[in-house]
C-alpha cells in the first residue's frame, strides 16, 4: 500500500506544485491520477521513489516513510515507466531490460535470460533483442519500457504517461495488454495520464486532480462517470459528450448501441 499523508511540495520558485494532498493506493490495485497539465501528477508520482522529496508531509510504503529508505535501493525495488519509454539510447533492448536485474545483483546470464523472458511477457519478438531503441517503433519502445519496469518483479509500478507518445490505436492495444498483465501479476500500480478514457480503461480507482494536486474526486470508473462530484469533474470526464450519452436502437431485430447523435458503436448483449 502506498499512502500520501498531507503531502506538500514547493519547488524553489514560488507556489506549491502540490498542496496538502492525501490519498492511498491499495495493494494490488491500479490507481490512475488524471488531471490537466501542471496539476502536479508527476510530482506526486516521483515522491514515491524519492526522485522528489516532499516539503512537508509523508509518503509511506507499507507504513514505512520513504524518506527513511536509501533512495537508490528504493528505486531498484520499484518499477518506473516514463513517457516514451525512457530507454537508454546506447543500450540494446535486451541490455535495457537486463539493467534492473543486474542492479539488483543478478548475474549477467541470469539477467539476460530474465530480459528475454520479459520480451515474451510484453509480446515482443526476441529478434528485437539486439536492436537499439532508435531502431524500434514508438509502441515497441513503450513495451520495452514496461518490460524493464517489470524485470525484477517489483511490487510497485509507477507509470507516468507511459503510452502518451504513441498513436491511439497502439495506445488502445497497450492498455489492453497492461490490463491482461495486471490480471495475472496483481501489482500495486500508480498510473498518471491526461487521458480520461485511458483512466476509465485501466483504473480500479480514478483520482481526478485539479491544480496543485487538489483531489477533485476519487472513485471507481463507474462512480466517476455516473456521479461526477462537481462541474470540474463533469467537464473533465465529458459526461455531456455525445460518445458518453449512449442510446439503444433497434436495427431489424438486433439491439444496437449508438452515441447521442445516432452513430452506431456496437451491439447489445443481454
Amino acid at each position: 500500500m502506498i499512502e500520501f499523508d498531507r503531502v506538500t511540495k514547493r519547488y524553489a520558485d514560488g507556489s506549491p506544485a502540490v498542496a496538502d494532498v492525501s490519498f492511498t493506493v491499495p495493494s494490488h490495485k491500479t490507481v490512475v491520477l488524471v488531471g490537466s497539465s501542471g496539476s502536479g501528477k508527476t510530482t506526486l508520482l516521483r515522491m514515491v521513489n524519492r526522485m522528489v522529496d516532499p516539503t512537508s508531509g509523508r509518503v509511506l510504503i507499507d507504513d514505512v516513510d520513504v524518506t527513511t529508505m536509501d533512495p537508490v535501493r528504493l528505486r531498484r525495488s520499484i518499477g518506473y515507466v516514463l513517457q516514451s519509454g525512457g530507454l537508454l539510447p546506447h543500450r540494446t533492448v535486451v541490455e535495457n531490460i537486463a539493467i534492473v536485474p543486474r542492479l539488483n545483483g543478478a548475474t549477467r546470464p541470469d539477467a539476460r535470460e530474465r530480459a528475454l523472458t520479459m520480451l515474451d511477457t510484453v509480446g515482443l519478438d526476441r529478434d528485437l533483442a539486439s536492436r537499439f531503441p532508435a531502431q524500434l517503433s514508438g509502441g515497441q519502445q513503450q513495451r520495452v519500457g514496461v518490460a524493464r519496469a517489470l524485470a525484477s518483479d517489483p511490487n510497485i509500478l509507477l507509470m507516468d504517461e507511459p503510452f502518451g507518445a504513441v498513436d491511439p490505436i497502439v495506445r488502445r492495444s497497450l492498455q489492453h495488454e497492461l490490463r491482461e498483465l495486471q490480471r495475472t501479476l496483481g501489482k500495486t500500480i500508480l498510473f498518471v495520464t491526461h487521458d480520461i478514457d485511458e483512466a476509465l480503461a485501466l483504473a480500479d480507482e480514478i483520482i481526478i486532480v485539479a491544480a496543485h494536486g487538489v483531489i477533485a474526486q476519487r472513485g471507481t470508473p463507474t462512480e466517476i462517470l455516473t456521479r461526477p462530484a462537481n462541474a470540474f469533474v463533469a467537464e473533465f470526464v465529458g459526461v455531456d459528450r455525445p460518445e458518453r450519452r449512449l442510446r439503444l436502437a433497434d436495427a431489424a431485430g438486433v439491439e444496437v448501441v449508438t452515441d447521442a447523435s445516432g452513430r452506431p458503436i456496437g451491439t447489445l448483449e443481454r
Binding site: N49, M51, V72, R73, R75, R76, Y80, L82, S84, G86, L87, L88, P89, H90, R91, I99, V100, L103, N104, R131, F132, A134, Q135, R148
Partner: protein, 214 residues
C-alpha cells in the same frame, strides 16, 4: 630527396619525440577536462566562471608560457615535462568547454530514467553520462589532437626536440627539403591521430550509427 635519404634516422627519432610530447598532453587534457566538464554541467552556477577561466588560459601566448612554466615549477626549460605541461594547458582549455557541452548534450530523459531505475550517481556517470557524451566530446578531442600536434613544434624554438626542430634547423641552414619534411610529417601525424579518434569513436558508439541507419 637527398636530404631525406641521409636523415631518415633523425626524422624517425624526431617523429617519436613529437608523439611523446603530443600524446601524453592530449590524454592528460582529457583526464583533467572530463571531471571539470561534468561538474560544470551539474553545478549550473559553476559553469560560466569555469569556462571563462579556461578561456583566459587559452589567451596566454604560448612562447612566454614555455619560459614561465619552468621558472614557476623549477623544471628544465628544455625538458619534456615543460613541453607536456604547456601543451596540456592549451589542450585542457579547449577540452573543458567541449566536455561541458558534451555532458549537457546527454538527453535529460536518459539521465532521469537512469536515476529512476536505481543507478547511483557514480554508476550513472560511468554507464550513462560518459558514454552518451562521447559523440560531442569526440568533436572537441579532434580539435585538441590537431592543435596540439601543431603546437608541439613551437617548443623547438627554445630547443625542445620535435618535428619543429626540422623547421628551425632547416631554416637556419637554408635546407628547404628539411623544412618541407617537418611540415609534411607533422600534418601526417595530425591526420593519422585524427583518423584514430574517428575510428575509436565509431567503435565506442555503435548506437549512433544504428540510429542513422533507420
Amino acid at each position: 630527396m637527398k636530404w631525406l635519404n641521409q636523415n631518415v634516422g633523425s626524422l624517425l627519432e624526431l617523429t617519436v619525440a613529437h608523439l611523446a610530447l603530443a600524446v601524453p598532453a592530449i590524454l592528460l587534457s582529457l583526464v583533467i577536462a572530463v571531471p571539470i566538464g561534468w561538474t560544470a554541467q551539474r553545478l549550473r552556477w559553476a559553469r560560466d566562471p569555469a569556462l571563462a577561466l579556461v578561456g583566459v588560459l587559452y589567451a596566454i601566448p604560448s612562447l612566454p608560457l614555455f619560459v614561465l612554466v619552468p621558472v614557476v615549477l623549477g623544471i628544465g626549460i628544455r625538458s619534456s615535462a615543460n613541453a607536456i605541461i604547456v601543451l596540456t594547458v592549451y589542450a585542457t582549455a579547449i577540452m573543458v568547454r567541449s566536455a561541458a557541452d558534451a555532458f549537457s548534450s546527454v538527453p535529460l530523459e536518459a539521465r532521469m530514467s537512469a536515476t529512476a531505475i536505481g543507478y547511483s550517481t557514480w554508476h550513472r556517470f560511468w554507464s550513462v553520462d560518459l558514454p552518451l557524451a562521447i559523440p560531442v566530446m569526440l568533436a572537441g578531442l579532434r580539435v585538441v589532437v590537431v592543435s596540439t600536434v601543431s603546437l608541439v613544434t613551437v617548443g623547438s624554438v627554445i630547443g625542445i626536440p620535435s618535428l619543429g626542430t626540422l623547421f628551425t634547423d632547416g631554416f637556419q641552414r637554408g635546407i628547404v627539403a628539411e623544412v618541407a619534411a617537418g611540415l609534411i610529417v607533422t600534418v601526417l601525424i595530425a591526420l593519422v591521430l585524427d583518423g584514430m579518434c574517428i575510428l575509436a569513436g565509431r567503435a565506442l558508439t555503435p548506437w549512433a550509427r544504428a540510429a542513422e541507419a533507420r
